[in-house]
Symmetry: C2
Subunit: 295 residues, 2 copies
DNA sequence: TCAACCCATACGTTTTCGGTATGCCAATGG
DNA sequence: CCATTGGCATACCGAAAACGTATGGGTTGA
């Protein structure tokens, strides 16, 4: 069963004549006649009644015609759909994100994306650092919004901005009086930490910052997310060092202060599989850059 | 866009490997590899990611896969549907009939047909004699139940039985006393006639019967159908000479009597276009014969 | 009876497809 | 570190299929 034959068949059925159909198909009449007879031989039944004034579908031919037209349409539609997906005009863009970042970015990012990639299904999932990496690798997400970037040979990274570290504390903490908190004031105070570096690279940036200033902060608790950390800070369990964007959506009663002499920041990055060459990725990066720039 | 290529593509996508797919397709690996690359060239985008352990669909490939599978299924289904119609396993059988006959036959004919041609859509239409002929010729009905047969070079006929002529009269008519009515008793009595022979061949059979016995009956009325004739008979407008099957469904107050010395009968026939070679027609004839035999 | 129209057949040419042989690359194992 | 294995890609050749030109045959209509 050959698609060319079906195309010829449909043309002849519509033109009700081999000659007319051959003209429309830009070919000579005899080979078309041959192809139609071969199709009839393949089906095992006549598809046309040959009259003296052209061809006319038999009932079997009509049964074939409807399905053949559909099959043809599906084939060209399939090719077009594949091209559209390859060109980024259609498809799915699945984004893995972390809540701290997304809370600040998504409200602007989503409309930006809808404008930039119309016709593409968007799909967002809040994921922990290690899950983001895993789901990038198994391709169940297309891109991940990370802070900091994922470090993995298969994963490619585009830095789209940075977030300064801020100290988060309860509003009635004595440090809250200061506009900027000197690093040495952190010495010995309890820290609400994120999971250790092997699970979440964010905490290694904090650790590096403290180490550089020779500050030791005992770890009062380890929590999964920045927002959990802020809850413990509010409860007086300790201080947290978090990216500036955590301000958005932080509970009332928490204040944020920059750390004096510590211009440290943490990279905001888009990560994706090195072998995913979808044009949606660069479009996503452009959108994310634009949103981060205005944060 | 070639259906073979799509078939190969689907096979490779399912096997996730060119080698495995080639095995399943009973062909060597290199030509399959070539065909896949040709398909990718035609689409203009890679459909697979080539890994060291086989092939994996890209997003574009997935978009193509769903449609390609559907197109393949439709193509084979189309071929099968055409074969089924040609073999009479599916299709449509459109029957044109006259009410007198159908009234007696349809209740048995329809179940018979459903058993004989399951899967075929049945379609019945009551049509006048001239309309039956016209709609056979333009193929809007497949077969016609006629009494008598249609006479036309393009139309083929199978005689499936005959109906004796009966005299229909009001129950209180003096002739009703007789078990059999001698032809000479009809002389001069008013006749309720059907349309003239050029419109309905049935009336020419009646005319021939009367002429042979040298009976003249003035025509009191011409009506379209046998049942209209019976209504006028009931009203006392005249007598009617009708096929025996008219008894079924005749209004109360009408009696039917055979005509003595007149074994005349009118053929019951199935008619169809000479060039409609559908196997449904012979099945229909068999069913109709069976039903007529038990009338 | 002739011309026009339309489909079918015949034959030579060209395109395309499939098979075999072989190369390249990465992962695996001693 | 080298050899082996597994998988896809490339090259070349023979075979099959399709297309075009030329032509035949049947029907319609002037």
């Amino acid at each position: 069963m050959d698609l060319r034959r079906l195309r010829y068949f449909v043309a002849v059925a519509e033109a009700r004549s081999i000659g007319k159909a051959a003209e429309r198909l830009r070919m000579a009449q005899p080979p078309l006649s041959v192809q139609i007879r071969k199709l009839e031989a393949e089906i095992g039944a006549p598809l046309f009644r040959r009259g003296t004034r052209g061809m006319d579908l038999t009932e079997a031919g009509q049964a074939l015609l409807t399905r053949a037209s559909e099959a043809l349409a599906l084939a060209v539609d399939g090719a077009e759909a594949a091209r559209a997906v390859a060109a980024g005009r259609r498809g799915r863009l699945s984004v893995g994100y972390m809540f701290v970042l997304a809370n600040a970015m998504l409200p602007r990012l989503i409309p930006e994306l809808r404008r930039s990639v119309p016709g593409v299904d968007l799909d967002f999932a809040e994921l922990s650092a290690s899950t983001r990496e895993a789901r990038l690798l198994d391709r169940s997400v297309t891109v991940a919004l990370c802070m900091p970037a994922i470090n993995h040979p298969e994963i490619q990274v585009a830095r789209i901005g940075a977030q300064r570290f801020m100290l988060a504390m309860p509003i009635r903490s004595p440090l809250a009086r200061l506009g900027t908190v000197p690093m040495e004031r952190l010495q010995g105070r309890p820290l609400i930490a994120l999971p250790p570096p092997e699970q979440d690279p964010a905490s290694s940036a904090v650790a590096a910052l403290l180490r550089r200033h020779q500050i030791v902060m005992p770890i009062a608790s380890r929590v999964e997310t920045v927002h959990s950390a802020l809850s413990l800070v509010l409860a007086g369990e300790g201080l947290a060092i978090v990216p500036a964007c955590a301000k958005l959506g932080a509970p009332r009663g928490i204040v944020f202060r920059p750390l004096r002499d510590a211009a440290d920041s943490i990279d905001v990055a888009v990560c994706w599989r090195r072998d995913s060459q979808s044009p949606l990725i660069s479009r996503f990066i452009k959108c994310a850059e634009k949103v981060v720039a205005r944060m």
